[in-house]
Every structure is written in structure tokens, then in C-alpha cells.
């Protein structure tokens, strides 16, 4: 046992260098006065003050969370039926279906999002088709709708796969038992299938909500820069303004929000899965 444990050390060192140090640096920067050098550390809370005192940034934060929540809800509503259908397929077809879902994620997200510009354009694919029926052109690109569409499109595979995993692992004898006891299809779904697939939904939520809340290039590319989200603000502080301290402070605020969100998700997961098991 001892020998095996020592094999962990390279991993520990690696994760220390690649994960812990950068995180610590963000914390240090967040509490440091202007100047992007780590050598002269001057403790300050100014970065946090200027964030919370500025209603503009708070609004951006609210908007980011709002859009991320909508994205997550839509991903569940659209993703669940897809995952359910895939889980009911023959095993061989399931493999193909899962492949089809993962296939787009092999291509760079930025490239796929850029492609949506061409589809949603005033003279793009959708408007040309609508044009054939004498409708339009309607403005789709550079609206809030386009931003949400882009987010759902990019993140839904993670939701589908998580739900599919938990559905496919489900023991079919539960369903048979439910049927034996006289439950109809709807009742079986709500009393048995749904509660058992909750862990999948919860991990899907974490996988969708986290990237959605901090995404910056989707609102930039599809929202025409009008839907500035917190990710854009952070990017801006690092790359344009050069205020690393302020950028780090916003990142920390985000990290805390995400931690809380994850904690809540886990808590609900525990509560519900226990309840689902007993019911």
C-alpha cells in the first residue's frame, strides 16, 4: 500500500503548481494595490470596494447569473427528453446516439459559435429560408435570444450525457416492480425514473451553470457586445485595462458564488436522492 501511495506525489506536485499556485496568485492580486508585480504587495480592499460600490458591475453580475440560470433550465428541459429517448434505444444504437451528441464538441467551441453568426445573420441561412416564404428578414443575431441559443447549443451535450448516464445505469427491475404495483406510466416516471436520475441532473447543472456564468466569447460573438457578462468584465480588466487586481477581485467574487451554488446543488442532491429512495 505504502508503495502505491508514493506514486501520488508527482500528481500532488503537479496539481500544486498548476492549480494551487495560480489560485493563490489570484487571491494575492485581489488584495493588492495597483501595479501588476507580485514583489511589492500592498494590502488593500479597494478592489472589492470598487466592485460592490459600482451598480453597473452588480447589474452585470445579476445579468450573468440570470442568463446562466435560463441556460441551465433550458438545457434540462431540452436535454432530459433526448437523454430519455437515447436510454430507451437498443444498446448498439445508444452508442451511435451518444457519439452524435459528443461529435460537435470535438470541434473548437469558438469556431462553432462563429458559425452561428453565419446562420443567424440578416442575410444568413435562417433568414434566407424565411425569405422563401416571404417572411423577414428578422433580427436574430446580436439579441439576447442569440446569446441564450449559443449557450444552450454549446453546453447541452454535457447535460444530456450526465442524464443519460444516470438513466442507463438504472435497474429496469424498478420499473417492472412499479408496474407490478399498478403504477401507470406517468406515475412510474415521476415516482421512480425522475428521482433516480436526479444525480445526473445535478451534475449536469454544475457542468452547464459553471461555464455559462463565466462565458465571455458567446455573448461577445452572438450578442454583439451589447450583453456584457461578468466574464467579459474580467477579460477586460486583464487584457485592456491592465488592472489585474480588480480583475482578480471579480474572479474571487465569482468563485465564491460558484462555491455556494455547488454547495446548494449537492445539498439538494443528497436530500432528494434519500427521499427518492424511500418513496
Amino acid at each position: 500500500m505504502r508503495g502505491f501511495r508514493s506514486m501520488l506525489y508527482p500528481y500532488v506536485v503537479w496539481s500544486f503548481i498548476m492549480i494551487v499556485i495560480p489560485m493563490l496568485m489570484i487571491v494575492v492580486y485581489a488584495f493588492t494595490k495597483e501595479g501588476n508585480s507580485v514583489t511589492n504587495i500592498l494590502f488593500t480592499l479597494d478592489n472589492f470596494k470598487s466592485f460592490f460600490n459600482d451598480t453597473v458591475f452588480i447589474e452585470v453580475l445579476e445579468r450573468s447569473i440570470f442568463i446562466a440560470v435560463i441556460t441551465t433550465v433550458l438545457c434540462i428541459l431540452l436535454g432530459y427528453p433526448v437523454a430519455y429517448v437515447i436510454a430507451k434505444l437498443k444498446p448498439a444504437s445508444q452508442v451511435t446516439a451518444v457519439l452524435m451528441i459528443t461529435l460537435p464538441t470535438w470541434i473548437n467551441m469558438l469556431v462553432r459559435t462563429y458559425a452561428w453568426r453565419g446562420i443567424l445573420d440578416k442575410n444568413g441561412l435562417i433568414n434566407s429560408i424565411l425569405g422563401l416564404f416571404g417572411i423577414g428578414p428578422i433580427k436574430i443575431l446580436e439579441t439576447g435570444f442569440a446569446v441564450i441559443l449559443g449557450m444552450v447549443y454549446n453546453f447541452i451535450p454535457f447535460m444530456i450525457l450526465q442524464i443519460y448516464n444516470s438513466l442507463s445505469k438504472m435497474d429496469p427491475s424498478y420499473l417492472e416492480a412499479a408496474a407490478d404495483l399498478g403504477a401507470n406510466k406517468a406515475k412510474t416516471f415521476f415516482k421512480v425514473t425522475l428521482p433516480l436520475s436526479l444525480p445526473g441532473i445535478i451534475s449536469g447543472i454544475t457542468l452547464v451553470f459553471l461555464p455559462a456564468v463565466s462565458s465571455f466569447f458567446i455573448p461577445k460573438l452572438l450578442g454583439g457586445g451589447q450583453y456584457m457578462l461578468i466574464g467579459n468584465v474580467i477579460e477586460n480588466q486583464f487584457l485592456t485595462t491592465g488592472k489585474w487586481g480588480f480583475g482578480s477581485a471579480i474572479s474571487m467574487v465569482m468563485a465564491v458564488i460558484i462555491l455556494i451554488a455547488m454547495y446548494i446543488a449537492r445539498y439538494i442532491d443528497k436530500k432528494l436522492s434519500v427521499k427518492g429512495g424511500l418513496d
Binding site: I21, M25, V38, V56, G225, L239
Partner: protein, 365 residues
């Protein structure tokens, strides 16, 4: 440690070079003519704007000098500066005027070796000896141009542009039909010029007025804030008005004949991007050689032809805008000179931070 941060900041990093055309003379190849030159098998690190160079320029240079060129790309001066400050080493950079000024102020550049860069005489009249580097001691211009408005000639009458100037961007007739350029410098240039001020103003009242101008525009006009997306979008005719860099405009005009380019008489940003050698360059001799090579006719022609920005090479500029040239009659290609309200951007730290803050607020609202 700073490198780690840089790693996280790196958004786009492409490595070219090392292709088949790289170095044919590893072993025994030293007898070839190429292998004899003093730079043989060295590596040049070139940090340039994305989509800013002709197709064969790098590979021809590699062949001619038997060297490898590693190209990396940036999409804003500030992103480039951040990487440079984080300790990354490059041999040649292509920053803009005000950024060169900043790098000079921070003593980060080394002088051009004029005994190697002998082609400085090729530079076009309007782009040499500019006031950020009066004798081209540290910088050699690459491209130059203006910022103006690309408009759809079918939907926007030229008279309206002439009478309203930049204020046409607040004309509610074009609500939801406008692309602004997503950078504080360019947006504030538009607002300050529209109000009749200098774009290098340090007067806070004037800056706040410009901020209000932009805020009001954001609220009433629903403009989209884009950068490179504007090129394809305007070439497809998505909107009627767009604030665009002249070189991108030249491309748009050559793709879509409905589009025109207009530079308001209120003035514009006369900008230039120039090649410089950072102090910490590993191969400064090769960097000078490279700069000299870019100044010659063929690479300059290839760059300007491919990208659409005005060449710094006088002969290329004349040929491309001349009667048989690719950009003949393209009003966006040749930068205008001799307008007294046209200015060059200067580096100013207080202004930089202030504009950047205000600009995030305009967009965040």
C-alpha cells in the same frame, strides 16, 4: 511565476513555421548556399496581429535565410503588452503608434540597426518620421491608415454623412443598424471628434461629455460592439453603418460594391503599426534582417494585397492604388493626408485608465 499567469491569459497561440520549407540542411546540407549564411538554422520569434501578413511572406523569408520563423498573433495592443510584460520573449513585434510610445517610455525597445535595415528609403511619405519616433530610430512602419465609417450606399445618402459627420451614428433613422468598434480608443475618438474635441484631450469635462455621448448612443441606438466580426458582417451587408479601420474597409468595399467609405471632416485617427525590436530579443540581428526584408517590394505587396491595409512601401502603395492596381478606385485603401483635424494617438496613462473604465461602463449598462 508570472509565466503561469501569462499561460492563463494566452487566448490564441498559433505556431507556424517548422513546415516542410523549414530547414532542409540539418546534416551535410551546409554546403548549400543557404546553409552558408550567418543566420543559418536560427529562429525568429515574430509577434504580429492576426491576419496581418501575406501567404508566402514568412515561408519565402525562411527559405531565403535558412531560418525558422515562429509566429504568434495578438488581437489588441494591450494583450500584446500584457504578454510582453509577463516576460515572453520576441524578436519582432508590430504594435501601433501609441503603444510604441508607451514601450519607448518604459525603455523596452532597442534601436533599429540602420546598417542592416537599408531599405528605409522605401517608406511612403505619409508614414515615415512620425512624431512618436521622429527619425524611425526604433520603429519601421508596417501598415497605416485611418478610421472611418463604412456605409451602405443604397440606404445612407452621402449628403447626410457629409452634413452630420460622426453624429449620424446617433441618427435614430439607423437605430439597431450600427456597428461600433469595441475598443475604448476608437469609440472615444468617434465621440470626442463628434463633439469637436481633440482625441488626445486630457480635459475631464470633455471626456465626460464624450462618455455621455456614448452612453446616450448605447441607450437610444442599440449599436452592436464588435471587432473583427465587422468585416464579414459588413461584407454581407448586415447593417448600414459601421465604424471600421480603413484596411478592413478596403476589404469590405472590394467584397461588396454597395458599400462606401467615408472619413468625416471632423477628423479621424491617423494610425500606423510599425515593426519594433524589444530590448530582450534573442536574435536582434535576424530581427533587423527580417524588418529589412519586409520593406522590400514583394513582401510588402503580398501583405497589402492580402490584408487590404495601406502599405508602408511607397512603390507598392502607388501600384496598388494606381490604375491597374487591385485597390484602384477603392476609397478606403489610400489613407488621406493633410487634414488638420486628423491626429495620431498618444500614450497617456491617466487617459488610458479613465477611458477604459468609462468604456466598460458604457457597454455594461
Amino acid at each position: 511565476m508570472k509565466k503561469l499567469t501569462a499561460l492563463f491569459l494566452t487566448s490564441l497561440l498559433l505556431i507556424t513555421g517548422c513546415s516542410s520549407s523549414g530547414s532542409p540542411s540539418e546534416e551535410g546540407g551546409t554546403q548549400t548556399a543557404a546553409g552558408d549564411n550567418e543566420y543559418s538554422s536560427r529562429t525568429l520569434k515574430f509577434y504580429n496581429w492576426g491576419e496581418y501578413i501575406g501567404d508566402d511572406v514568412i515561408s519565402n523569408f525562411e527559405k531565403e535565410y535558412d531560418v525558422d520563423v515562429i509566429s504568434e498573433y495578438f488581437d489588441s495592443n494591450e494583450a500584446m503588452y500584457t504578454k510582453l510584460k509577463a516576460g515572453d520573449v520576441y524578436d519582432v513585434l508590430v504594435p501601433s503608434d501609441y503603444m510604441i510610445e508607451r514601450l519607448l517610455n518604459e525603455d523596452m525597445l532597442q534601436p533599429i540597426d540602420k546598417s542592416v535595415v537599408t531599405n528605409l528609403g522605401n517608406l511612403a511619405e505619409g508614414v515615415k518620421n512620425l512624431d512618436y519616433d521622429p527619425d524611425n530610430t526604433y520603429s519601421v512602419p508596417y501598415f497605416w491608415g485611418t478610421v472611418g465609417i463604412v456605409y451602405n450606399k443604397n440606404n445612407v445618402p452621402l449628403e447626410e454623412l457629409e452634413s452630420e459627420g460622426y453624429n449620424i451614428l446617433k441618427n435614430e433613422k439607423y437605430k439597431g443598424n450600427i456597428y461600433m468598434y469595441d475598443s475604448e480608443r476608437d469609440s472615444f475618438m468617434v465621440a470626442l471628434k463628434a463633439l469637436g474635441y481633440s482625441m488626445n484631450t486630457e480635459n475631464e469635462d470633455e471626456i465626460n461629455e464624450a462618455y455621455e455621448w456614448l452612453r446616450e448612443q448605447h441607450k437610444t441606438m442599440e449599436p452592436s460592439y464588435v471587432t473583427d466580426e465587422v468585416i464579414d458582417s459588413m461584407a454581407n451587408g448586415n447593417k448600414d453603418l459601421a465604424v471600421v479601420y480603413s484596411g478592413d474597409a478596403a476589404y469590405i468595399l472590394s467584397e461588396n460594391e454597395d458599400m462606401g467609405y467615408f472619413t468625416p471632416s471632423e477628423g479621424t485617427n491617423l494610425w500606423s503599426d510599425a515593426m519594433v525590436i524589444p530590448k530582450n530579443a534573442e536574435n536582434p540581428e535576424l530581427a533587423n534582417e527580417f524588418i529589412n526584408y519586409i520593406l522590400t517590394y514583394d513582401p510588402s505587396y503580398s501583405n497589402s494585397e492580402a490584408v487590404g491595409y495601406a502599405s508602408s512601401n511607397a512603390e507598392v502603395l502607388a501600384d496598388l492604388s494606381g490604375e491597374d492596381g487591385l485597390y484602384y478606385n477603392n476609397e478606403a485603401y489610400l489613407p488621406r493626408t493633410g487634414y488638420e483635424n486628423d491626429e495620431i494617438f498618444h500614450d497617456n496613462e491617466t487617459l488610458r485608465v479613465m477611458l477604459s473604465d468609462l468604456w466598460s461602463k458604457v457597454k455594461a449598462e
